[in-house]
């Protein structure tokens, strides 16, 4: 299908105009918080819809080239749209539409306390920067938009700046994102210098002439930069701080969409800009992915803060995506392009699916926070009866993220498994072992994710409320519910009819790698590698529904007793049931804490306060079971201490003596003369 270039350009302009109108409109209506939030987020909603149309048109074949030489120095601003960029625009827009809709209702509680105009402005800048990043086609455009995205998200993260922990979270985020930026800057400049051009499109051709050591260095720098944005271990420390601190619609966008731009960068590095690299590139990404996946879910399992749990779960899913990306790069280096394409499709489909269900889960958590004013799972419970629709949407999100049929997470994990299992076609024992361990890691992650979300959904929504706030919860506003309903529908559709997005993805991969993926699919079935494995998700879903309806009928025909009586939970002899008898979130995670104690290194404290009269009577019992964060302790703290020490020593240079400073200038001038002459 040929799409007219003018249509593409018009859609592009409409998108930019809507976000611009939203940003300015939010500022202009600053006096009226209601108007500011509706105008700011409403315009973002319309802009995101235009961006979605733009992205879908791009996936169907429409291209775009836009050069604005005077907008930026060193080559001007260059934008271009190919299928991969279009796919990521679709992912971003698909996340931004529900987020904007959700924000209209959610930000109401900020009225009077924080500037809704500022929030609306930052939101629009954030989303439009994210949409433009995949379209950037030269170094400076990319970096400017990347930085704009980071800054806008920083201001959104520290919205609730009256809280100490939010400011700390913002600070950690700021430092980490700029560390990644520094790595990217260095990598890009080295690559530009080696190939002689700042334009991305020309790099793939020129990369073949690079010498291997500089290519490896550039790969390492760019991979580190993009991995830190994606949130891979050990560069993940900002995620569990920033995502809970931010307002829920921002968390949904950051977790669902922004970290995917790190994935975009990794795909470009692995497949577009540097040509086909040595095997260790793919192997490293695979191993980092496997480690992130397992550690991410293990940290999520023991966390009692609902949003921090979801943030760690994002680390896990980025690990899964990097697992399939690493596998794809490794397959390509081993000369198996069909399977590489299959692995890449699995990774990119998981990117889309994660955007859908993670945004849904964060919105659900935001709804719970809105209704109960607490994120602590130990204080929640019983919300199923008080917020039935939110609970149903959160359940769908949990089922999707636990990769259970017939939802979308199952399809992408299934595809990832198929591509990993096909590794037997490589005949190198080390690589085979790495892939086997990758399969084991993915399987462990999968099982642990089921446990994690049984805990997250079960403790938060089921049984009795554990506090007054939870007991007094009520259902949230219709805009928030509508946004969640949209995403839940997306999870179901992407799970039962995956060919809808797999077909454009296959075209994308073909454009990127010039290889046909080793997978066939139609509306009902997906077949990998000509019969190595198959699944028919639509039939599965239909069969599930048919049996679910047939069973009660069958029981009725058998003459089963139809009566049902409601009574107390069986108490084993105790007098009454209160919420104190329920299982707590900490208790639920206890088996895992014990099995994986090597990782958590838990610190257990038991304080028992006895009655002063007699040791037979206990006044209070306080039990602390805190896991330690090993990366912070082992990696970051020593690093930060070293930097602080260096900085303190360097302060000696600032002597305050003007003569000393003149000598510094002289030395610098002489050094420059020597270097350039």
């Amino acid at each position: 299908m040929i799409i007219d270039a003018t249509v593409m350009f018009d859609l592009f302009v409409v998108t930019l105009a809507c976000f611009g109108a939203g940003a300015l409109g939010a500022l202009v209506t600053a006096r009226s918080p209601t108007l500011a939030r509706i105008v700011g987020h409403g315009a973002a909603l319309i802009g995101a819809m235009a961006a979605l149309a733009f992205g879908l048109a791009g996936l169907a074949g429409g291209g775009m080239q836009l050069n604005l030489p005077d907008l930026l120095p060193i080559g001007g601003a260059a934008f271009g749209l190919d299928r991969l960029s279009a796919f990521f625009v679709v992912v971003i827009a698909a996340g931004a539409i529900p987020a904007s809709l959700y924000a209209i209702g959610y930000t109401r509680e900020y009225a009077g306390k924080h500037s809704l105009a500022g929030m609306g402005f930052a939101f629009n800048v954030f989303v439009v920067a994210m949409i433009l990043v995949p379209l950037a086609r030269n170094v400076l455009t990319f970096l400017v938009l990347w930085e704009l995205m980071s800054l806008a998200s920083y201001f959104l993260v520290i919205t609730e700046h009256e809280r100490e922990e939010t400011l700390r979270a913002g600070w950690v985020y700021f430092v980490m994102t700029h560390t990644g930026f520094a790595a990217l800057l260095l990598g890009f400049l080295l690559l530009a210098k080696a190939t002689g051009t700042m334009h991305f499109v020309q790099w793939q051709v020129a990369a073949a002439h690079l010498d291997p050591s500089s290519r490896n260095l550039i790969f390492a720098l760019l991979a580190v930069g993009f991995a830190s944005k994606a949130g891979a271990i050990p560069l993940h420390v900002w995620l569990p701080r920033a995502h809970p601190a931010a307002p829920s619609h921002v968390s949904a966008l950051m977790s669902g969409v922004m970290i995917k731009l790190g994935v975009y960068g990794l795909v470009r590095v692995g497949f577009s800009w540097l040509g086909v690299g040595p095997g260790w590139w793919g192997g490293t990404i695979l191993i980092v992915g496997a480690v992130s996946a397992v550690l991410g879910v293990l940290y999520a399992l023991v966390d009692a803060d609902l949003k921090r749990l979801l943030a760690y779960s994002s680390v896990e899913n980025i690990g899964i995506i990097m697992l399939s990306l690493g596998a794809a790069v490794l397959f390509q280096a081993s000369n198996l392009p069909g399977i590489a394409a299959l692995a890449l499709i699995a990774g990119l489909y998981h990117t889309l699916n994660h955007a859908a269900f993670k945004s849904l889960l964060f919105m659900g958590a935001g709804a719970v926070l809105h209704a109960t004013h607490t994120r602590n799972m130990e204080d929640l419970g019983g919300l199923m009866k008080r917020m039935p629709q939110t609970a149903a949407f959160f359940l769908i999100g949990s089922l999707a993220i636990a990769a259970l049929p017939p939802f979308n997470g199952f399809i992408s994990e299934w595809l990832t498994f198929q591509s990993l299992l096909l590794s037997f076609q490589i005949s190198a024992h080390t690589i085979n072992l790495i892939f086997a361990l990758g399969v084991a890691a993915l399987a462990l992650t999968s099982g642990l994710a089921v446990a994690c979300f049984v805990r997250a959904f079960g403790i938060t929504f089921l049984a009795l409320p554990r506090s007054h706030q939870a007991a007094g919860a009520h259902e949230v506003q219709w805009t928030m519910r509508a946004a969640m309903a949209l995403l839940a529908l997306a999870c179901i559709v992407l799970g039962t009819a995956p060919s809808l997005m797999l077909a454009p993805l296959e075209a994308t991969i073909f454009e990127l790698m010039s290889a046909h993926a080793d997978v066939q699919f139609n509306l009902t079935a997906v077949v990998a590698n000509d019969g190595f494995g198959w699944v028919a998700p639509l039939w599965l879903a239909l069969a599930l529904i048919v049996f679910l309806m047939a069973l009660p009928l069958g029981l009725r025909l058998l003459g089963a007793n139809k009566q049902r009586r409601s009574y107390e939970t069986w108490g084993c002899g105790r007098a009454l049931q209160t919420a104190r008898f329920e299982y707590t979130a900490t208790a639920f995670a206890n088996p895992f804490k014990r099995v994986f104690a090597l990782l958590y290194r838990p610190v257990k404290e038991l304080d028992i306060e006895f009655h002063p009269e007699s040791r037979y009577f206990v006044r209070t019992i306080a039990y602390y079971n805190e896991g330690r964060l090993i990366f912070e302790d082992a990696l970051y703290r020593p690093l930060l201490r070293m930097i602080e020490t260096l900085a303190r020593e360097a302060r000696a240079l600032q002597s305050g003596n003007v003569h000393g400073y003149l000598v510094y200038i002289l030395i610098a001038l002489v050094a420059l003369l020597i270097l350039t002459v």
């Binding site: 084991a440 049996f547 939970t569």
Partner: protein
């Protein structure tokens, strides 16, 4: 077309009505080994009938998930019965999924059962759920590495493809990797179905329960569905073990003679497995809960060895 529907129906009915019999046989074998006479092998049918005639008492703390879960459990098992090659490899609905899809279908049931355990708000249910998902999570890597081992030798992950390949080339099964994968899968089968040494299905002490603790609140037809679904899960796991690792007798074409042979072969294999399980359950004591991960780690190592030997013996 008609014969395909008939065969699918036959397999379904076999799983539906055969699972209580399997459970009954295991109990009878255990009783005999323990020196008792034991109940009749048809007792589970009587139990299910009794439960169906009783009224359902539901805790007032629960939500719709509690009442929905037994139906979902039975549904996933019935669906799996249509995918697993019980009698013949030409299962009409085998296109719905391969062995990985099957494992995830089982996980779907576990997810909802764990939620139902939490729903009533009792400490026993929470404890059962917590332990059950811990064991399911730790058994997952073993399952998938064992599948990897099988897929390496058979060249496919589709169930009928595996059986066809092994039935056609029996020599593929004659190696250490195959045996190791079988051992690993057998241990996982014990863990997933709540059998000793992981979980005692006949215990009445709540603090030692895993599966039973989750279903403590169920009664009447809901409990009947849960028990039946658990029986079907055991039947399907043992069928997978029999037909994937020892595919002799499985019908490769759908003629009445081959189907009869398949039925008899399956009956013999299941009887042998029932005896083996009864023997294991009588000989070993239940493991302490925090020793179970060690058992599962051991089974994972065995499965990984199976994969490694397959690589080095190619």
């Amino acid at each position: 077309m008609f014969s395909e529907i008939a065969i699918a129906l036959l397999q379904l009915l076999m799983v539906m009505f055969g699972s209580p019999l399997l459970v009954g046989v295991i109990r009878k074998a255990k009783a005999r080994l323990q020196g008792r006479r034991g109940a009749s092998i048809f007792q589970p049918y009587a139990d299910i009938r009794k439960l169906l005639l009783k009224e359902v008492v539901v805790s007032e703390n629960t939500s719709w998930i509690f009442r929905f879960t037994p139906y979902l459990l039975a549904t996933t098992m019935l669906l799996s019965a249509l995918i697993v090659p019980v009698l013949t490899i030409r299962t009409p609905l085998g296109f719905m999924g391969n062995i990985i899809a099957l494992m995830y279908l089982f996980l779907l049931g576990t997810f909802f059962l764990a939620l139902a355990g939490l729903d009533a708000g009792s400490a026993f249910g929470g404890m059962g759920s917590s332990r059950e998902v811990a064991i399911a999570a730790l058994a997952e890597p073993t399952v998938l590495i064992a599948i990897f081992g099988i897929a390496l030798r058979a060249g496919t992950t589709s169930l009928d493809g595996i059986i066809t390949r092994f039935a056609a080339e029996p020599l593929l099964m004659l190696n250490a990797g195959h045996l190791l994968a079988f051992i690993a899968f057998f241990i996982v089968a014990l863990a997933e179905n709540g059998r000793l040494p992981v979980d005692n299905p006949a215990t009445h002490l709540e603090l030692t329960m895993i599966h039973e603790a989750m279903v403590l609140e169920y009664s009447g037809r809901l409990l009947a569905l849960v028990e039946w679904a658990a029986g079907m899960k055991l039947f399907l796991f043992l069928t997978l073990l029999s037909n994937l690792f020892f595919p002799w007798g499985v019908a490769l074409a759908n003629t009445p003679m081959t189907l009869l042979t398949a039925f008899l072969a399956l009956a013999v294999k299941l009887l042998l497995f029932a005896g083996a399980i009864a023997l294991v359950e009588t000989s070993v004591a239940k493991l302490r809960l925090f020793r179970v991960p060690e058992l599962l780690a051991g089974s994972f190592t065995v499965a990984l060895l199976a994969v490694v030997t397959s690589f080095f013996m190619k």
